[in-house]
Symmetry: C4
Subunit: 270 residues, 4 copies
């Protein structure tokens, strides 16, 4: 019986944690739908009109979802080989966070915002994205983004410095009455402007301020080119390299040119 | 006479449905102009001042267009080989939708918005775009867009998840008084911000909210690079493939100019 | 004396119309500065405060510029070989437009807006851009833009259709009270949104309207990639082709590959 | 003792001005943290609430930072070989500007905005970016930006002309009541619109004005492609050049992988 139990656990583990069997894929798709519906319910619950009209139905639905996610969490705990390692892993904690707020809201009375934490369930979608990872599209995109990341971080650091200096200058130039009432708020304005969002909740009113703002905008217009250029270049490189999936029979080197006949590392015929 | 009738139907079919003869092209261009004018009339009709001043003229014009489109619809039904298949096809339904609202407005009294449905006539423009499809420009663009579509869909899915999480966080951080009065509305704000539209109808007022918003904007600034990079890379690939398909029989060199007759490396005839 | 006069006219023509001699370049740079200053004066004149304080000085400066431009126009008319052809050419008319409004303002009393026409003097800057045209930078940019133009036109046509349909739908969905009071105005909103400008003077207030607007924004976010991709791809192609400046000694063919040894057209050794 | 003193100065110079030793790197990182903290204090000081609550603590912290930066400035002056050359260099002046305002604020009573000048300390971060310059990421980015700079300048000049003409036209078309009350302000609006920032503090209200604005937006939408394309193309070129500089001595093939030892085509040792 211990053997049968183990094999059952292994089979359940296969379904719940992996996505290579048909049952595993079906489980993942079901989970995806469940997460989406659950998030939809949370969203609708936050709308005053819906809560007034269909509050009871939403409440019941919410508990159905919480029940199902609790069951899923317990099953995961049961079938995984090292439950503690799972429970303290990133996705383990997330799985707990997906159900805990609902129970806490029973105990704590005034927990208005606690319920919103449940929306973090959506992050669990990325667990299911194991499925997507196998698609070539997402892989190419992921590779290009990973390659561009360090350049984009360097770029965002430079932008941050620019934004602090611009914000401080505008704080001095524009008075309190235009909304530039502190340096942090001026920095917020600088970000809103440089990224071309432009809410208009804070906007310069003096001639000098508008002139400086115009300069910042033109700068932002030229600067937006940089991250785009980085990702474009990476994707172009990715395409060029994507056909060289061969590995050398002699030294196992990869990354050969498209029409290579000999290994670039050991000179072996491919 | 049956024969003559058939050949007439065939000739009309050639003109109305195809675009390879001169008459067919003229018909398509005429239809294009008619659609554009008809949409213009609908637009002007919606402006209160124009309707007050030139209401009668617009009414007459509208019926002229409806009459012509009705005639066109009947001609199409008559000359097509399988009228039912046409009537239930996408463009068949669209052709009917282009004329039906005008007649329905005679019967139903209070049909203010029904008239606007007629603007869908514009979609019929794409029927005429058979013409454009033959232009190399549009073809290259179309190929690149088709190749980028799956990557962009994956990207928009990721954006959707991000937007729901960001919207929920802002719903918690910002109060009801800043306009973040429900999660769906906060998600709307997140989309407005991330796409750098930035209306300013809803904007964070607290320090923490503004800080988070600034982070979202910088993120959006980095993220906008992705779809652009995808399309750029596809177009670059398209160019590369449109020039270098031949390889030299003498030295196997590739990358010849489009209309090359001799190999650029060894001078061999291609 | 006729000979001397002719040679003077020729020399003046060389200075005024060409930019290959030192004097010609100096003339062009001087004209550039004059145009810039003149436009600056027009701008300052439109500011109520400046007009009140320095109205007289600006008035004098304006007449100095008008005098100089009139002189220039007369010199151009005198030294050009076919004065009528010049006077009716694009730049000839522009040169006249640069001075005429000032004189007309003497005759016509209430010519508030006539003065602003003088700002068209700025377009004359492009006459001087003959200078810039010789810079490699501008040439590469110009070539890429010319190559991308047809694709971008096709793209803008598609956008126009999209914008009319979206505007009409929003006109129906949103009421008069949100600012969507006619289809043209709704189309204006659709353009403001799709291009991510987002003034916020018109913005949807109903839930359905905000949902549709969010869709339009995400679409615009994906769509903005297209013109960028087009120009990027053209510039990448421009670089790849830019090194092949060789022309075949046998058949004068151009556009050879970078490391070509033989002509692709006639097989001649380069 | 003179010798010992000299060697101490040389060692201090090594630490303070260079970044190749471990001590030099540690000094730079420490300085970076100090600058960041100091700027944070200046930002917090500008927020009315913080100044009211923690004014004394911020004041003390500010003087600690000023003291440390003064010490650093004196050490730099002492250990550098030519103190005058350093004191009049760009970074020398900046180092002085970083400490001077604090002392001036002791003397001058009403120096509200003088304190904000201290935020220029942030520019000193770029001195420490010697560190970053050694990273391959930043170098590739820097090279691409330097190569794109002239093209982007030409582009921004063209945009400036466009913006002045568009602003003047809108000044004529739109009245004073929509906010277009002078040409400079209309130019400011044109920049806000063309760069897709779109505050909404000034926006057209007449039909004609909105139509023109829509045209400008569509133009801006197409134009934003240009700088992006420029940077993308430069980065793609950078990649291409960083991999293919070698050519095979046996068969003259190019396009080898970066660390290739053997030719991919003929197997010859490179």
């Amino acid at each position: 019986m211990a053997l049968r139990d183990t094999s059952l656990r292994e089979r359940v583990h296969e379904i719940v944690f992996e996505a290579d069997t048909a049952a595993g894929k079906a489980f993942d798709v079901g989970l995806l739908v469940l997460i989406a519906l659950s998030v939809l319910v949370i969203c609708l619950e936050s709308v005053a009109d819906y809560r007034a009209d269909h509050g009871a139905a939403l409440y019941v639905l919410e508990w159905v979802f919480t029940g199902l996610f609790t069951l899923e969490y317990l099953v995961r705990l049961w079938c995984v080989r090292r439950p503690l390692a799972y429970a303290t892993s990133f996705f383990g904690v997330l799985d707990l966070v997906a159900v805990l707020p609902a129970y806490l809201m029973l105990v704590i009375v005034d927990a208005h915002h606690l319920g919103t934490v449940r929306v973090l369930r959506l992050v669990r979608v990325f667990r299911v994205l194991k499925l997507v990872r196998y698609l070539g599209e997402a892989r190419a995109l992921h590779a290009a983004l990973r390659a561009s990341a360090p350049k984009i971080v360097v770029f965002l650091l430079a932008i941050s410095c620019l934004v602090v200096v611009v914000g401080s200058v505008m704080y001095v130039v524009e008075g309190r009455e235009s909304g530039f009432d502190s340096i942090p708020r001026s920095i917020y304005w600088a970000i809103v402007t440089l990224t071309t969002v432009g809410y208009g909740d804070i906007s310069p009113s003096s001639g000098l301020g508008q002139g400086l703002a115009a300069l910042v905008m033109l700068m932002g217009y030229g600067i937006i080119a940089v991250p785009t250029g980085i990702v474009s270049a990476e994707l172009v490189r990715g395409q060029r390299e994507s056909t060289s999936t061969q590995s050398c029979p002699g030294c196992a080197a990869e990354g050969h040119v498209d029409d290579a006949v000999f290994c670039y590392r050991c000179g072996e015929r491919l």
